[in-house]
Amino acid sequence: MPRKTLKDKIKKKAALNEAHRKDIRFIKTIAVLKGKGLLRTNLPIAATKSARLDINHAIWAGRTVEPRILEVLPAAILHFPKTFLNLANMPPDLEKVVKMIRANKEDGEDFEGIPFAKMRHWANTQLRDRRTKPVETLKQTRTFRLRQDAIDKLAKLVEAGTFPDQTSAIEAAIDKL
């Protein structure tokens, strides 16, 4: 492509990028993700902690302007589901990614060219607020039928102060396997 044509095309595309950055869908997405401590920007966009964000607007902003939005989006959905509107209408491939991360799966499919490992990484990273726990450390409910002697032993270990609770005793035993 001749240099002059290339330069004109670049200028045109940059003007479109600039217009996209002024779109409320992008501004709101950045404000929310900045407020949640998942993304930083040098644009003069104030962080917000309380605004609600349409999931489709966040996806648009990620696809059109800043793919890093898509990188942290599953983490935002998992940690702050109440922030998002229309979660029930999220694309099936994103829903699958979220489910795989929630289930603590090592591998999963990419979303819009973003590797699964990257999205999983942010969901498992401790956030600044310290209240939001990495997904892989979240406890899940399981039901087991144990022998009476095992139940008695667990109770004794907690009574003796060896473990704060029976779950911790079971987890310690599993760690030793």
């Binding site: 492509m1 200028k11 595309k13 940059a14 990028n17 920007t41 800043e66 939005i69």
Partner: protein, 168 residues
């Protein structure tokens, strides 16, 4: 970002001073002075001129390569210093490709460590070649800014395809 990097590495330098005093008391080997190279998006945000002109977003990972495999320093950064700034050390920092002709600018020169940042044009070439999907908008904005007269040529020379960035 430059301020944040300065705060992070000044604290690291101070902690090494304390550690070396302890080690001297115990007769242990002191931590030798070393160099840290900052790569990735942080280099663009840490450059005052670039950060004023290019719109930049960054996730919370810092790409930093240590000249020496300094366990004390990297461990301290990972576990204590970077979390204060809501940052994590990218474990894949060593994999960041540094193009030929790259230059590094010293932003901090302390007793125990020297911090250098990759020049922005080289950081952009690296992104255009190794992570073009994630940096499509950034590369167009950088080319249009005319701040980097050699960017297009360097991308093509490194095997990059400028047409890719123009596609919808």
């Amino acid at each position: 970002m430059k301020d944040i990097l300065i705060q992070i590495f000044t604290e690291l330098n101070d902690r090494i001073t304390q550690e070396n005093l302890e080690r001297a008391k115990d007769g242990r080997i002191k931590i030798a002075a070393f160099e840290v190279k900052i790569l990735g998006q942080a280099t663009l945000l840490a450059n005052d001129l670039i950060a004023k002109i290019l719109p930049l977003q960054m996730t919370n990972d810092l790409d930093a390569v240590f000249e020496a495999n300094e366990y004390f320093a990297t461990h301290l950064l990972r576990t204590e210093i970077l979390p204060k700034f809501n940052l994590i050390l990218d474990p894949d920092s060593e994999k960041v490709w540094i193009p030929a002709g790259s230059k590094f600018e010293v932003i901090l020169n302390l007793h125990h460590l020297k911090v250098k940042i990759l020049d922005p044009e080289s950081a952009l070439v690296s992104k255009a070649i190794k992570a073009r999907e994630k940096n499509k908008v950034l590369i167009i904005d950088a080319l249009a800014s005319e701040l980097f007269p050699n960017l297009a040529e360097r991308i093509e020379k490194a095997g990059g395809d400028l047409d890719y960035f123009l596609k919808d």
